[in-house]
């Protein structure tokens, strides 16, 4: 009863059939994404290494000129403008992500302590504003923070801003807009973590005479860390590349990397420079995803953290 010598023709036929099936189902979408996203991204990366032509379109020869421009070296010597924009992007990302965590953490916890039938409604209430268009939401803040509005008057009265300046455009307005925009992205994964919370661990900690603070730190916080991490990625990556909010709420001095990149493809018209900025953004994105995977793996169950 040796198996050797049997030629598995049915087997190879089945394999051919399965491969064809895989191709037929997956190919349309895969080809779509390759043609309309992978190819364009590759082209954009190529553009970053080309020279800026007279109409803003990229030309040969290849050069690293656009990266030098991005770092601030121009015809008139070095200027810190682009570097400031870069640092501002990092700073805004950091501050807004931190603030989002501070607001979302207690909110997610609070929802998880409420009665079960209310929880879906509460989550929906948190999420619904993000279903409206980003431009409209940001426009709402423009209305709220404009000079002469109650909020601006209050800030004036407290001496926080100069008279008749309004709270926007300003870096503060951008931060506020970012926090507003990304709050639901943090609440959802955190809520999921709180809902799964193993309360036996909390009770065990209390049983072992842990103070509420210590019980939180040792029994609750570690369990919510995967959710927190997912939230940080969902907030920080898009925040770093944000375009709409700084464009509307920031004014000239609130510009972030996204605006720098975008302006090179419209008014300013320097594709290679814009593409170089885009590459920077991509690098930041992949560093963020990679770091998150690493930390997630160390915490265990890191796979489920990614979206």
């Amino acid at each position: 009863m040796s198996y050797a010598g049997v030629i598995p023709s049915a087997r190879s036929r089945a394999m051919v059939r399965e491969s064809r099936h895989l191709l037929l189902t997956v190919a349309p979408g895969a080809i779509w994404i390759i043609i309309f996203l992978v190819l364009p991204s590759a082209y954009l990366m190529g553009v970053a290494f080309m020279t800026n032509g007279p109409y803003g379109l990229p030309e040969m020869p290849l050069s690293l000129g656009s990266f030098e421009r991005l770092a601030g070296f121009g015809f008139l010597g070095w200027s810190p403008g682009n570097l400031y924009t870069l640092l501002r992007s990092l700073w805004q990302t950091l501050v807004s992500t931190g603030l989002v965590v501070l607001v979302a953490y207690p909110i997610a916890y609070y929802i998880s302590t409420c009665r079960e039938k209310w929880r879906p409604i509460m989550l929906l209430l948190v999420v619904v504003p993000s279903w409206t268009n980003q431009v409209i939401r940001t426009f709402g803040w423009m209305n709220l923070l404009a000079p002469g509005t109650p909020l601006s008057s209050l800030a004036e009265g407290l001496g926080l801003i100069a008279p008749n300046m309004g709270l926007y455009p300003s870096n503060f307005a951008v931060t506020l807009g970012l926090v507003y925009n990304f709050l639901p992205f943090m609440v959802l994964p955190l809520y999921a973590a709180f809902e799964k919370l193993d309360t036996a661990q909390v009770e065990a900690a209390q049983d072992l005479y842990a103070s509420p603070v210590r019980a939180f730190w040792h029994a609750v916080f570690p369990q919510t860390l995967p959710g927190l991490l997912a939230g940080v990625v969902l907030v920080a990556i898009p925040a770093f590349g944000m375009y709409v909010i700084p464009e509307l709420l920031g004014g000239g001095k609130g510009m972030m990397l996204g605006n720098l990149v975008a302006s090179q493809f419209s008014g300013g018209a320097n594709w290679p420079l814009g593409a170089a900025g885009a590459i920077l953004m991509l690098i930041a994105t992949f560093i963020g995803l990679y770091a998150m995977r690493r930390i997630g793996k160390r915490l265990g169950g890191g796979e489920e953290v990614v979206i």
């Binding site: 009863m1 198996y3 049997v6 030629i7 598995p8 049915a10 087997r11 089945a14």
Partner: protein
Amino acid sequence: MALDATTSDAITTDSIPADSITADSIRTESKPMTDTLTLEAADTSSTEMEESTRDASSIEMQGLHKRFGRNTVALDGVDLVIEAGEFFTLLGPSGCGKTTLLRILAGLEEADAGRLAIGGRDVTEVPPHQRSVNTVFQSYALFPHLSVRENLAFGLKMRGMPPEQREARVAKIAEFIQLGDLVERRVDQLSGGQRQRIALARALVNEPDVLLLDEPLSALDAGLRSQLQVELLRVQKRLGMTFVFVTHDQDEAMVMSDRIAVLNGGVIQQVGPPREVYEHPANAFVARFMGHDNLYPISARDGDRLTTPLGVLRGEAVGEGDLLLIRPETLDLLPGEQQGDNRLPATVTERLYRGSHAEYRLEVGETTLQATLNNRGRRLPEVGDRVTVSVAPEDLVTLSE
């Protein structure tokens, strides 16, 4: 009790408790084979479909091979003929190839080599939806998006039967399996036992040539399980359909089957009626799988006299083989020490009292021996008792490793 039930001639009385009904006992009370579901539903079903169940189909397998991946051999040359109208069981431990074989019969798996014929027609390369074969799956696989009624009608609908005929057929099968008002329920409202019966009905309603059952009872608890065993057996006898049943439970296999094939490592070890497989296992694997532990190497033979670790025993018309099998229930325990042929002095080291019988572990010289005594009201030996084991020569069975 379980062991007694297998010696089926013993119990053909009318008042049999449900859990001890055997294939033989049902055969005596079952109706003639012509009384099929098809005939009852003859006015509504097409002629072609009637034919399919009235002539139950035989199955012929020739040199079936199947390998998964590079190294896992699931079937290593299976030759087997299953007779028309038989309740045939594929028995073996998990990974022995029994489920693979069933899936090849269903067409869900393609053999790497070999031929398969059902009802005389070669179906080796026929896809499952073109085979008149239906399966009762282990997980039941009822469609969650359909009601029970729609589940039952699914196969008929796929074959293109008009709605009125379909409804009539579904109603008939629902009556036959006694589904009652289950037909109106949603699938998620059913219990395990109900799902099992719906799955059976969903397969039977198509009146296939062959019904395949993939451990259909394994997810149920013991009581329900034995009840459904009986029900399944009755259905099979009334329809006269060929059933191929897969299980890893040798008790279940013995209760239900006309014939059993024991598989191991993708190879058929033995094919035969339950009694033959149980009482005359072809090799040590089959013997152990059927629950036999009293296996002893034969170190010397002198005619019918066999030298074993238990001592020298005299057999009667013993066959070939270098292993001796003594079934525990064939042994008798006599009080005290008694001399004579096929009498072994022993000490009781363990006793498991089971009510209807008691299981003993005995020490005979250097080795151990198991015995089962029916509780007939006489004194049952206690742990520590010195007893004499009496072995009848005709109960000695030899087999090879």
